[in-house]
């Protein structure tokens, strides 16, 4: 279709050149050509040329001018598909996909069969998951170009994604019948066949899928996929005997795939544990180097059989010195009797290795060769890890110290010692050991990362960053590089550290950074829409689309989102003062001496602040320069990347609408992590503060469906009742709403009063501290005069039955005074009691004691250094010491 505002032949040729230049990214030439056309007085207002000028400017990163010219062009020629298409492309490069779709649709109004525009539109539709629209566009493309492969594939896929398997399969079937000559090893054809079988399987046409695979087996290149799928289909089609040889062969191909063994056992139709273990024994003999057939029977066997297979497994691991041996068997500890057996075996090894160098007395008596000298240290490490898992800190430390005395150069021992302290509640001592471990092998990135993580647990963010800098790119700050690398564990741990320290803005910044990574990952799928279609990797492509749909289900997102929501709630409950008002203290009521002190303090603070602001200004200048150079760099490589707002902690923590921000993080959780009760408990906290009874109710009901006995749920119900009552005292809500709420009330507590409900809850759950805690909260919440009773309820609980995390939760509630009001004395007493129970936990120790300890450490270090100095003097230049027996 001709342009609505045609150019003369000479200018027309120039315009086509502009298009060429744009495709070739010769933006400067493009601009010159555009200038030539626009210089002609007849065409100064020519819409399409102006639009192209704008698009070309966008290619040069001059975004604002780009918008100006494109819009101007469009205004001058609203009936041009070129102008609309260009506007769409510009919006697309700005990631405004919804707007871009509208533009393409307008373009198609004037040029309904333009292939390029249709293709661009389909990409946006699939990116935005407008599946109906995608189907229509693909259909349109199909009718325009029925001879092209891509038309068929896209058409079929659009039906598949909509769940119309029948139609998708029919299209593919027709297509593959029209294919006449198939070359050998045609990967794309092979993928297409497998894709078709996937569609058949998803539509539960298993028999058909099996026949399809059998028929085309020779043409499919991915033999592994064929065997795996066929084996699976035979099992599902109740023909297990045919699956046996398939999985047998698959295990031979890869004896370390757990799934194959599971399928094999199903196919063999064995149900008795002893039979299963016997089958694994066969595999052990067949594949002596494989780990799977040795480890898997530990899950199945019980009693003496378990002892036997575990004995073999542990001996082998300790003999070879496999560092993660304990981690490999940790899952078994969930069964009490298995944990006991493992402990007994390890103790037996330790005793016999110490005495004779054998794992057992039988070995020693039989005169078997002794085990390697390293077996003892690995056994001691294993025992330490075992006791640590059981939270028996004293015995764990005893074992790890034995191990360190035995082999002080084994780095794994230092890591474990740190971990023991971490679990015992001393994050600082834990990090010191990790730092030591890290210094022993600075080329080991695993230990480096672990050390950084432990530092963050001890709230040492700067130190952690410095440690990480040993492995990040040079010339950039480690924090920036880690963000660029989407190093989410680090950022989340940072956020949590800032949260613990009450640096809310910094915590939020880290959470938002993690959120942006997820947005970016979703963004990144754009390239795959064209790539996967072209390469015909359709199974992987559909897998990718489905993954992106649920991306924020990932635990990384959950952790960061939970942190962000908690911080926003905190900021809602206790908003920060604006920066200016912080300084204003009540001066009038101070005695003169105090006033003097205060004044000098203020002077010092002011000086310090001035210095800091000067430094900050300098840093700002530096940052800006950095930003500028970065912008230039990105513009050279990727002109499409839109600029995101900089995350400024001071602004983030002073948001006007913390709850709305919290909801932004909450929404994906409600959608994708709805099987986690924390999601709904967090949701309740947000809606409770927004006073939205229906949404509170929704959260409670969803949480109840997951675990109606969860302790925190009780507190939600009590507060919900309270909120309803306050509400109905004030005003009556909509009759329908009231009806729903009344019904819910009935369902949740019947005719009881909240007090009765709370009393019953306490009586029913008096063996669980977390339940009692929520009960006590309710007690105080409903009647503040019962404060003492509430506190006594939890502080009188038998401490020996308490876990460390529980004790910390309760102590912090008492200490901070935001749950039961001020109760300093009780908190102090509780702290002392907890200190006696959990002697290593830092939170229960006195500041003075910790400081004394620290000073003692510094002094010890000094002494050691002095001693070394002395030794230096002693050992003359040539002194040597070729020591010991070998």
């Amino acid at each position: 279709m001709p342009s609505s505002d045609p150019l003369a032949p000479k200018e027309g040729a120039l315009f086509r050149k502009i298009l060429k230049c744009y495709e070739m990214k010769q933006y400067k030439n493009g601009l010159k050509l555009a200038k030539q056309i626009l210089a002609n007085p007849k065409y100064t207002e020519h819409g399409e040329t102006l639009a192209m000028k704008g698009l070309t400017l966008n290619g040069l990163g001059r975004r604002e001018e780009a918008y100006k010219y494109v819009r101007l062009g469009l205004r001058n020629d609203l009936r041009s598909h070129v102008c609309w298409h260009v506007y769409g492309l510009l919006q697309r490069s700005d990631k405004k996909y919804d707007e871009a779709i509208k533009c393409y649709r307008n373009a198609l109004k004037w040029e309904k069969d333009n292939l390029q525009i249709l293709k661009d539109l389909s990409l946006l539709q699939i990116q935005m998951r407008d599946l109906e629209g995608y189907k229509e566009t693909r259909h349109h493309l199909f009718t325009l170009r029925p001879s092209q492969h891509a038309s068929w594939i896209g058409f079929a896929m659009s039906y598949h994604l909509l769940g119309d398997y029948e139609m998708a399969n029919n299209i593919l079937e027709t297509f593959s019948q029209s294919q006449t000559s198939i070359e050998a090893h045609d990967y794309r054809h092979s993928e297409l066949l497998l894709y078709q079988s996937q569609i058949l399987i998803e539509s539960s046409h298993l028999q058909q899928a099996l026949e399809h695979l059998k028929k085309y087996e020779s043409q499919i290149v991915d033999k592994l996929a064929v065997r795996e799928t066929m084996g699976d289909l035979y099992i599902k089609l109740q023909q297990p005997e045919k699956a046996v040889p398939i999985f047998d062969a698959l295990i031979r191909r890869n004896p370390e795939n757990v799934l194959y063994y599971e399928q094999y056992l199903i196919a063999r139709q064995v149900s008795e544990a002893s039979e299963k273990v016997a089958l694994f024994r066969e595999f052990q003999a067949k594949y002596p180097r494989a780990l799977c057939p040795r480890r898997l029977p530990l899950n199945i066997a019980t009693g003496d059989a378990f002892r036997e297979v575990t004995d073999e497994y542990l001996r082998r691991g300790l003999r070879k010195g496999i560092p993660p041996l304990f981690v490999n068997v940790r899952a078994l500890h969930q069964q009490v009797d298995k944990a006991k057996t493992i402990e007994a075996l390890a103790l037996q090894y330790f005793e016999n290795l110490t005495r004779s160098g054998h794992f057992s007395r039988e070995d020693a008596d039989a005169g078997a060769p002794v085990e390697p000298a390293s077996a003892l240290v690995w056994t001691a490490l294993f025992l330490a890890q075992h006791y640590d898992y059981m939270r028996d800190t004293d015995r764990a430390l005893e074992c790890i110290n034995v191990a360190i005395d035995h082999t002080p150069t084994l780095i794994e021992l230092l890591i474990t010692k740190g971990r023991i302290f971490k679990h015992a509640g001393d994050a600082v001592e834990a990090y010191i050991w990790l730092d030591e471990a890290q210094s022993m092998d600075t080329a080991d990135r695993y230990i480096n990362s672990k050390c950084a993580k432990y530092m963050l647990r001890a709230n040492m963010i700067q130190e952690a960053e410095e440690i990480c800098a040993k492995f990040t790119r040079e010339g950039v700050s480690a924090m920036d590089n880690l963000n660029e690398m989407q190093c989410m564990w680090f950022q989340t741990e940072c956020a949590l550290a800032y949260q613990r320290m009450g640096r809310w803005g910094e915590a939020l910044k880290k959470c938002h950074e993690v959120d942006r990574h997820f947005a970016e990952i979703i963004e990144d799928q754009f390239d795959f829409h064209t790539y996967c279609m072209r390469k015909m990797t359709l199974r992987a492509y559909v897998g990718l689309l489905r993954l992106e749909d649920v991306l924020r289900r990932h635990p990384f997102y959950f952790k960061a989102a939970k942190c962000a929501i908690e911080v926003y709630i905190r900021l809602y409950d206790k908003p920060l003062k604006s920066e200016a008002t912080i300084e204003e203290i009540d001066i009038e009521n101070l005695p003169p001496s105090e006033l003097k002190k205060l004044r000098s303090k203020q002077r010092k603070a002011k000086k310090k602040a001035e210095l800091e602001s000067a430094q900050a200004a300098q840093a700002q200048v530096k940052r800006e320069q950095h930003q500028k150079s970065k912008q230039q760099a990105t513009q050279e490589t990727d002109p499409d990347a839109p600029q995101l707002d900089e995350l400024v902690p001071e602004k983030l923590e002073r948001t006007d609408e913390p709850l709305e921000k919290a909801i932004e993080f909450l929404k994906p959780l409600q959608q994708l992590a709805k099987d986690r009760i924390e999601t709904h408990l967090l949701a309740f906290e947000v809606y409770y503060r927004k006073n939205k009874p229906l949404l509170m109710l929704q959260s409670i009901r969803r949480a109840r469906a997951i675990n109606s006995a969860h302790p925190e749920l009780h507190s939600c119900i009590v507060r919900f009742m309270k909120a309803l009552k306050a509400d109905s005292d004030q005003r009556r809500c909509n009759a329908h709403v009231q009806q729903v709420l009344d019904k819910a009330n009935q369902e949740l507590i019947g005719t009881k009063t909240p007090q009765q409900l709370n009393d019953e809850f306490i009586a029913k759950n008096n063996a669980s501290i977390l339940h009692l805690y929520e009960g006590a909260r309710g007690l105080y919440e409903l009647d503040a005069s019962k404060k003492d009773a509430a506190i006594n309820l939890i502080t009188s609980f038998d401490l020996s039955k308490l876990r460390l995390e529980e004790a910390i939760k309760i102590y912090m509630a008492l200490r901070d005074g935001d749950v039961f009001g001020e109760c300093e004395a009780k908190a102090a007493a509780y702290k002392q009691a907890c200190h006696n129970r959990f002697q290593y936990a830092r939170i229960f120790r006195n500041v003075e004691e910790l400081e004394a300890q620290l000073q003692e450490k510094v002094a010890a270090k000094l002494r050691a250094e002095q001693e070394q100095q002395l030794n230096h003097l002693d050992v003359s230049e040539s002194a040597g010491m070729a020591d010991a027996a070998f």
């Binding site: 082999t407 150069t409 600075t442 080329a443 010991a884 027996a885 070998f886």
Partner: protein
């Protein structure tokens, strides 16, 4: 002992603290920072010994040019006590001897040992060392303070064999020179 492996590995800035740790545990004297700076430059003359992938021993030597001679001086050679009598010292010493023999320009290898350290004296005698001197009050803060000087004369390739020499029985191949830990 078929299940165990003994290998030698380089001392690098990344693992030097393992060497320090080892020397601190094994020897009653501690060495200054210069010692460790030099060790990093010593190449094949400083090695860590790995037993089943664990650092359990180390040897550090330097070339001594005093007394108009070119001699190889063993500054330290030691092994953690639970890993003694497993052949680790032999592997380390043979590596050093091998180095000296291949070089061919050493007059001798020598070292100091505390006079009561019979284990070490026996060990070196096995390899043809002899006590050539005893220095009184060699060590300052440890007892006994006297040290024997043990020496093993070598045959120089480039000088006429006019001096006496012994035959050495060498077992090669036990020495694995490169060992990188996971990075």
């Amino acid at each position: 002992m078929t299940r165990s492996s003994i290998e030698l590995g380089d001392v690098t800035p990344h693992n030097i603290k393992q060497l320090k740790k080892l020397n601190t545990v094994v020897f009653p004297v501690s060495y200054n920072d210069k010692f460790y700076v030099d060790v990093l430059e010593a190449g094949e003359l400083a090695k860590l010994a790995y037993y089943n992938d664990i650092v359990v021993g180390a040897v550090c030597c330097r070339i001594d040019s005093t007394e108009n001679q070119r001699r190889l001086y063993i500054m330290t050679l030691g092994c953690l006590s639970p890993y003694r009598r497993l052949g680790i010292g032999t592997v380390m010493f043979e590596h050093i001897l091998n180095y000296a023999e291949n070089d061919g320009n050493f007059d001798s290898i020598f070292l100091h040992v505390q006079i009561n350290n019979n284990g070490a004296i026996e060990f070196y005698k096995k390899f043809g060392f002899e006590i050539v001197d005893t220095k009184e009050q060699y060590y300052k803060r440890i007892e006994p303070a006297d040290a024997h000087v043990l020496q093993k004369t070598l045959r120089r390739k480039n000088t006429p064999p006019n001096s006496h020499h012994q035959n050495h029985h060498l077992t090669n191949g036990a020495v694995n020179e490169k060992k990188e830990r996971r990075t």
